[in-house]
């Protein structure tokens, strides 16, 4: 595992936690707009990071580059695992797709579950894509649903779930594969404040509580305060990077 120089914006002891994902010199331009401008960032094991900033500031582009959904015009994104390091930006489409299946998990604002599938099947499909047989996949999926308070709702379809329940299914789907890093894009954006707090509780407990890394893109200060660290972007650059003393994780 490689080490990176300590970030001067963060306390010294933070730098001792192993890095899971490191971005160096990320640049991404859409037409004449600089979505990312020479941005560098380290994500460490077990931390929760809120990415904030104005619309068009580069939040979603950063998340997509870190997750290998898009490749930067310049710079690198290195994944550190027990098996070594991988420069995600140099992988082919198929390799990045495989990496997203096995190593990353995603929670979207609208849940975006497959509407025809039941809650159980929506979670199990993530494992089936990795080659797990259906019985085994559904067994693990059922355990995740029960752990997230959805026991007894396995056979419900998306339309029969509330917004909060659907997001819990999405959280289970993101983690059932044992993903090391979970990316959440406005995961509570479509929920009321009470449900939002519940969903964030579950998201934090099930990720950072078990040593996984959580990256949340959000506009919501309450959501950001629940995270251990907040990175603020403007015009594709980091303008602040701070740890919260009283964060949930």
């Amino acid at each position: 595992m490689t080490t990176t120089p300590p970030d001067p914006l963060l306390p010294r002891d933070h730098a001792t936690v192993p890095v899971v994902l490191s971005a160096r010199g990320l640049t991404k331009t859409y037409d004449a707009t600089h979505a990312l401008a020479d941005l560098s960032l380290d994500l460490r094991a077990g931390e929760s990071v809120a990415v904030m900033g104005p619309s068009g500031g580069g939040k979603t582009t950063l998340l997509h580059c870190l997750a290998g959904i898009i490749t930067p015009d310049a710079g690198q994104v290195v994944l550190h695992t027990g098996r070594g390091t991988t420069d995600i930006a140099r992988l082919s489409d198929g390799e990045r797709s495989a990496l997203r299946r096995s190593t990353f998990g995603f929670v979207f604002q609208q849940g975006l579950l497959i509407p025809e599938l039941t809650a159980l099947e929506n979670v199990a499909v993530a494992l089936m894509l990795l080659g797990v047989d259906r019985a085994g996949a559904e067994h693990s999926a059922a355990q995740w649903l029960a752990a997230l308070g959805l026991g007894g709702m396995e056979d419900r379809r998306t339309g029969q779930l509330s917004g909060g329940q659907a997001q819990r299914v999405a959280i289970a789907r993101a983690q059932v594969t044992g993903a090391a890093v979970i990316f959440a894009d406005e995961p509570t954006g479509a929920l009321d404040s009470g449900t939002s707090a519940e969903v964030m509780d579950l998201l934090l407990r099930s990720t950072t509580g078990t040593g996984k890394t959580l990256v949340v893109v959000t506009h919501d200060d309450d959501v950001a305060r629940r995270c251990a660290r907040t990175v603020r972007l403007r015009d594709g650059r980091i303008v602040s990077d701070s740890l919260h003393a009283g964060a949930a994780a």
């Binding site: 959904i69 797709s97 997203r100 990353f104 979207f108 975006l112 497959i114 499909v125 089936m128 379809r157």
Partner: protein
Amino acid sequence: MSAAPVIPAPSAVATPSRVSLRVPLRLAWMLARPTATGLSAVALPITAFALVTALLLTVVAGGLSFLRWQDETGQLYLALAAIATALLVVPLITLGGSAARLSARRRDERLATLRLLGAPASTVAVMTVAESMMLAAVGALVGILGHLLLMPLVQLIPFRGEPLGGSVWMGPATVALVATGVVVLAAVSAALGLRKIVISPLGVRTRQEAPKLHWLRAVVAVAVVSGVAMVMGTLGSAGDFAVVVVVLGVGFAGALGVLNLAGPWLIGVVARRQVRSAGTPERLLAARQVLDSPKDAWRQVSGVAMTSFVAVFGGTGAALMSAAGPLEGSERFLGDDVRTGVLITIVASFLMVACSVGVTQSSLLLDRRDLYVSLDRLGMPVGTVNAARSRAVMVPLLVVSVGSALAAVVVVLPLAGLALIFAPLSVAVILGCLAGGVGLVVLGLRATRPVLAHILRTPASAL
């Protein structure tokens, strides 16, 4: 530091107690504009309506051209043309209905939202019907142009020993009548498809439960097939050819009804079994997608059911004529002309099936672009998505084509048996038609792959 801007409280807006027709029409225009919906949202239904119009005009023109023959054989040709037209009108209506439903479904979300915002049912109804009619009218105009381009080729088709020639040209009044019929069809389909939005806007927005089709559909289907088969069994004793034609026509209409009744139910039964046994993501996705709406799955492939029917009927008829030996006098071209008619019918059916699958699949992809983009982000391979889409069409297709061919064989059992003995070529025609239909649907599906690739290449507008 500048003070925060003060946002004035909105003043109460006077609302009219009764909404005039102008409001829904203006809303319909706002929502139908390509700038509001994306070009593809209007291009697909317009293309479908254009194809429906062009094919319908060409079929009607061919049929009407037979009116110039006033002799006894001419009457027979007219009867056969009527049957061929009936064969094509049903799948044409299906395709037209699909196009109308397609354009209506594209508006489901927006219309349901309008309902939730308090728009009266009448506003939503007028908007839906008006938008469908606008798209259908544009499609009909394009279709008329397509028909005019096709006509030089149609003129070359030989019947009774000579090309159809100028007799296939229809007057502007007939063309206008047919085009108007397409627009009316769009309006009726849109109005029927609208009921669920008007009745329950939440039902549309949340996609609650998968519908279940009653097993009574199968019972009725078996009863009708048995009844028709019994009637067909008496055909051997009917000496008058006209009686045979009428009985065949009635039998065909009954069997078509049966197909439409039993088809969705059978597809649902097969999909339910496949959901239970699916061991891979693509199999599970495909089976669940079909089970979500067996009627939609049926509509996509019902054209092939009709084609299978045509193949069995046409193959049997042509085979029996060949077996009966050469005819003389004005009927000497009858065998060749029946074969030509059957081929035209099959080609037209295949075209409709390809259009139906292409249009429906493209529209499904566009409607669910957020979902497909999210699946791509989760790491689901494009191959898995395409395999699931393909299975969701091909499994119902095989069920339907084999099932309808078997139903047709049952209906014309005595005649089919004779044809098999005297002219095994008819069997080859049937198998060839089925293979051709399946191949065409595969092509229709493949043609939609670039749509998915485009959606995944430009995800910014989706998520």
